[in-house]
């Protein structure tokens, strides 16, 4: 049975905090709950970005997700999760 949204957010956060690399592909989160459809997983991950729990990292061609405190911000602080 699929996890509830809050359980899923917790699992995603845990995964993003403990993975060896700070940046994760959306597919890396699929393992958090194999019963959650990819599109629902994307919606939850994007909601977490809006809440400031995750942030986007983009090379321009690929976008990844990361916990704000784990990723180096080129400008020292801030980034899209912290923009007013």
């Amino acid at each position: 049975m699929a996890l509830s949204k809050e359980e899923l957010k917790k699992a995603i956060e845990e995964k993003a905090l403990t993975s060896p690399k700070p940046q994760l592909y959306i597919k890396d989160f699929y393992a958090c709950d194999p019963d959650t459809k990819p599109r629902d997983m994307k919606n939850v991950a994007n909601e977490m970005v809006r809440e400031g729990k995750l942030m986007f990292w983009s090379s321009g061609s690929t976008t990844m997700y990361a916990i704000p405190s784990r990723i180096k911000n080129e400008e020292g602080a801030g980034g899209i999760g912290n923009v007013e």
């Binding site: 592909y25 597919k27 090379s59 007013e84």
Partner: protein, 426 residues
């Protein structure tokens, strides 16, 4: 910011072609940070290595695309390009602009950015080159609130859909490419602005097989206009072409003397399926052999026109060379009707079926064409619920291995091997 000495770049101005170096120098007169763009490039030419870092975490709030973070790794040498982010602005369908809109956009970019642009990027977006992080939100506010324009796609998002000029100016368009492009852009706002996929995803819409947006080479889903019935022939106009009274190709090649128009040499002999011939003064076409290449129609536009039963073919899986080299899209659906009447329901259903499969099966940074190549076309067709047809076969007999499913074999796989061997020695 001081003027930079750029002896290597200066050489690029000496050739016969317009030079971006000259353009940037001119822009540097009002935007001094542009000297640092030339400076950092000169340094890269000298050291033969880039001085841009890879990616970053900039963006505007709520969007996971449209801004590409660019930072210099030698900011102490070139402070003007410490941040030099790229902004992708979605282009209007068919890239029609009013001059007032362009002036407003340029004024906005002079205010918040370097003033440097790239019209257009390969996806089709308006590319605005070079701004600082603190300018992104104010720029985005003015773009969306004052101009009613939006950012385009980047990263693992649906990229800004693109289309040819379609029915707005082209008599050959077999469906309203602008309407589909605009409607699907609105329909898929979430996918354009928030990353959803293993990698980038593009769709492009061409009104006829001339494919003026090169969708077959550049998009993951390529929708190309076509027709099911016969090419319409005006035999009187054919005679005028043969007599030399109408210019071939609408006069497009009239700058040189190519000699008298020869319908055999210029049309019939060049037909890739050899489906045309003359019977007396009449041009005949074996419709079932016609592959809709458009060559004859392009050469004799007053005599030949696409048929009336119009729709589109859908091809899937093109990409530019990053991993396995460039590949064209593969024909998957030979014909569908593209109609606003049902809100492009058939097309949307197809797109989402591809997405649902690719989001599940595609590897990270794998375009849908690469996933198809990895699993094989038969598997892809079976997942999509599409019956194989001869047009799906690239070349007959190039692959001796045909895999049958048990339900496709009479008697299944449980037949008596001894009985079989009695007639067929091993």
């Amino acid at each position: 910011m001081a003027k930079r000495e750029t002896p290597l770049l200066d050489q690029l101005e000496s050739g016969p072609w317009p030079s971006f170096v000259t353009d940037i120098k001119r822009q540097a007169e009002t935007k001094p940070e542009c000297w640092d763009i030339l400076g950092i490039l000169e340094l890269s030419y000298k050291e033969r290595i880039t001085h841009w870092k890879h990616g970053g975490i900039v963006g505007v709030f709520g969007y996971g695309g449209g801004i590409v973070g660019r930072y210099a790794d030698v900011p102490e040498l070139f402070p003007g390009v410490e941040h030099f982010h790229t902004v992708r602005v979605a282009q209007p369908a068919s890239k029609y602009y009013t001059s007032a809109n362009l002036r407003q956009l340029m004024a906005l970019w002079e205010k918040y950015g370097s003033g440097m642009t790239n019209f257009h990027g390969s996806t089709g977006d308006i590319i605005l080159l070079g701004t600082r992080t603190e300018n992104l939100e104010p720029f985005f506010w003015d773009l969306t609130h004052d101009m009613g324009q939006d950012l385009g796609g980047s990263g693992s998002n649906l990229r800004t859909p693109a289309n040819c000029i379609g029915e707005s100016r082209c008599e050959w368009s077999c469906y309203d490419t602008e309407d589909v492009c605009h409607s699907l852009t609105l329909h898929y706002q979430d996918e354009i602005h928030r990353p959803a996929f293993p990698y980038k995803f593009k769709f492009k819409f061409s009104g006829c097989p001339n494919d003026c947006v090169a969708s077959i080479a550049r998009s993951d889903i390529s929708v190309i206009g076509t027709w099911r019935d016969a090419i319409r022939i005006d035999q009187a106009a054919v005679k005028e072409y043969v007599a030399g009274n109408y210019p071939a190709n609408g006069g497009a090649h009239s700058g040189r003397n190519w000699g008298k128009f020869d319908i055999n040499k210029e049309v019939i002999d060049l037909c890739p399926t050899e489906c045309m011939w003359m019977e007396g003064a009449e041009l005949k076409i074996d419709e079932k052999e016609c592959t809709r290449c458009m060559h004859c129609i392009n050469v004799m536009p007053r005599a030949l026109r696409p048929g009336l039963d119009k729709g589109a073919s859908i091809c899937v899986g093109a990409k530019a060379p990053i991993l396995d080299g460039a590949q064209f899209a593969t024909l998957i659906v030979p014909f569908i009707k593209v109609s606003k009447d049902n809100d492009f329901e058939e097309l949307i259903e197809f797109i989402e079926k591809v997405w649902d499969w690719w989001m599940e099966v595609g590897k990270n940074r794998e375009r849908v064409g690469e996933t198809m190549q990895r699993v094989g076309l038969p598997t892809f067709l079976s997942v999509m619920g599409i019956e194989p047809i001869p047009q799906h076969v690239k070349e007959p007999r190039s692959n001796p291995y045909i895999f049958w499913r048990e339900e496709e074999v009479e008697g299944g796989f449980a037949r008596d091997i001894d009985e079989f061997r009695a007639k067929h020695k091993a």
